[in-house]
Symmetry: C2
DNA sequence: TACTGAATTAGTACCTGGTGATAATAGCTG
DNA sequence: CAGCTATTATCACCAGGTACTAATTCAGTA
């Protein structure tokens, strides 16, 4: 028979080990011996069984991830991926809701992420040196869930030549269902060119 | 006389060294000897003079930075630190604008981060199982810059017992200057307080 | 009872990517 | 030539491991 009285402690230790390293990847094997009250060899056997790399490898992996992340997230001025952009006219971006965007208990996206996509797009679509959100009126029409792809469409409604404000409407869809709508007032820097090409008027709403 | 014919190569090498490590922090001293055609001792003397830590230290620093970033950005359900919370009444949170929150060119905070703080607080202040932003009307009164501390104050204006919507006003200040105001409509789940488990609000999930 | 076998512990050799110290050399320069 | 800087060469040592072999413990059982 399998000595379950012996087996349990090992599995429990494995669970503890995973938990400890999860919440502090910077721990050395020697420190783990003090936490788990077993020899360093046992720690190393455990790591092997669990496929946990050594401290230096863990740090290297984290560094590589963050190196990529810094390049792709922080330097990125836009939340979501812009797939179409006609400056001063319209734009489309796609943003997939991942687990870091949702309430973990419910799997529902936190509102400010949906807002962030729309806000980024509204700013990006303005063809000017500086564009800042000045005001917004927004509606969350239905909650967005983990894994759903949000497609935001922005339309510049007015960017009248001399003025320093532009109005942008953004509608966000999941599939063909509208989940968010926002009306943004974007402040723009003075130096705009005098092209007033957009004859679009409010053909919606 | 100073042997500038000798000095220049050294300074040039230092510049190269800085550039190489900047764009690839994962390089070892041994690899650098091949790139710079000098001995490994020279590489190490150069690193010392330039105050560049060894590979493992560099990786550790990157890992720590990314670890903090993950903790503060992704795992946190609330943007900003809540310093006071009176459920269904009011709340205060503090959020410092860091470089990942600003337009790199101008140093001005992107609107959705300021919004995120306010939105998080508006949701947190509602004492209910589920609270979701339903709509919001917001104004960015002045731009917020890198390094500024945003203090958001939320007030629940109506949470009439049976209703499923609450109104929350949030005002964000830098010093005594108001930089943002928002009027939120928060959807809440049926029960005003589910007495099923005790300290609900302790779990941020 | 003695045997089996998993789990644990111990010990050794070796590895990478370094630090720190000391000393030898190269190359120019006044 | 001496004097100087820069460079290179060794050597001992370190942390935090891997890889391997061997001993010990301890429960279950044939």
């Amino acid at each position: 028979m399998v000595p379950i009285i012996e087996r349990q402690p090992k599995k429990q230790r494995h669970q503890q080990l995973l938990r400890i390293i999860e919440e502090n990847p910077f721990v050395t094997d020697r420190e783990l011996t003090r936490l788990l009250k077993v020899s360093i060899q046992t720690i190393r056997l455990d790591r092997m069984e669990l496929g946990i790399p050594e401290l230096r490898e863990r740090l290297k992996l984290m560094a590589e991830r963050s190196y990529d992340a810094v390049r792709s997230l922080q330097l990125d001025e836009v939340i979501g991926e812009i797939v179409d952009l006609q400056l001063d006219k319209s734009g489309i971006s796609i943003f997939e809701i991942q687990k870091e965007h949702v309430f973990s208990r419910t799997g529902i996206a936190r509102g400010h992420h949906v807002f962030a996509q729309a806000n980024s797009l509204a700013v990006a679509v303005i063809n000017d040196e500086i564009a800042l959100t000045s005001a917004a009126d927004i509606r969350f029409l239905r909650s967005v869930r983990l894994g759903e792809k949000c497609i935001a469409k922005a339309f510049v409604r007015s960017h009248s030549g001399g003025k320093s404000k532009a109005k942008v409407e953004v509608f966000t869809y999941v599939g063909d269902e509208m989940v968010f709508q926002g009306h943004f007032v974007i402040f723009r820097s003075a130096g705009e060119r005098a092209n007033e090409g957009g004859s679009e008027r409010a053909d919606r709403d």
